[in-house]
């Protein structure tokens, strides 16, 4: 955890920080320190923009 660097290019590493419905989990749930939580949130949003991760579980299928 100490040398964990969140990166939008490695979305599988970000997967533990999103909920079942793909929302970003609050820092309290994962006991993430606040500086890391900010980076994680930013990288998840980048991955979402590139469609490497979904925004939610209700996207249109076609």
């Amino acid at each position: 955890m100490k040398d964990f660097r969140p990166d939008y290019k490695n979305p599988s590493k970000l997967a533990p920080f999103i909920s079942e419905s793909f929302a970003i989990l609050p820092a309290a749930v994962k006991a993430t320190r606040s500086s890391l939580q900010r980076k994680i949130a930013k990288e998840i949003k980048r991955a979402r923009f590139l469609a490497l991760m979904p925004y939610c579980d209700q996207h249109a299928k076609s």
Partner: protein, 134 residues
């Protein structure tokens, strides 16, 4: 001179070849900076439809550039009919390239040889795991 990353999502059906679609961007980058790393992530399923497309051809670039050229790059990609979406990220300090988990080695190496780019140092093949299997 800053270091930047650019991920481009190309249209899966309008695209003839990746190197043709990519060449205007590489020319722009070569104007002031240099290309530091190039990766193809292959044709990936999108997590949600973009312009009614469910797949896209992903290309990842790492390069140095001046802010003026970066603005040109952004403008070029915005009006390019082949581009579904793209993201530029400014890196803090120097770029430190590490192969990503999404890399498609086969297409990446093909692209690198076709474009005559000398980025083999930046793109170390990782056959170690495969060797153990065989």
């Amino acid at each position: 001179m800053g270091h930047y990353e650019l991920v481009i999502l190309f249209h899966p059906y309008k695209l003839a070849t990746i190197e043709d679609a990519l060449s205007p961007y590489l020319e722009l980058i070569a104007k002031t900076g240099e290309l530091l790393a190039l990766e193809s992530w292959g044709r990936q399923d999108l997590s949600y439809p973009i312009k009614k497309m469910l797949k896209a051809e992903y290309v990842f670039l790492q390069f140095s550039s001046t802010p003026e050229v970066l603005a040109e790059l952004n403008k070029a990609s915005r009006f390019d009919p082949l581009v579904l979406r793209c993201l530029t990220v400014k890196l803090k300090g120097e770029a430190a390239y590490m192969p990503t988990e999404l890399i498609d080695l086969e297409i990446t190496n093909k692209l690198l040889t076709q474009l005559n780019l000398n980025l083999t140092e930046a793109n170390p093949e990782q056959p170690e795991i495969k060797e153990e299997v065989s």
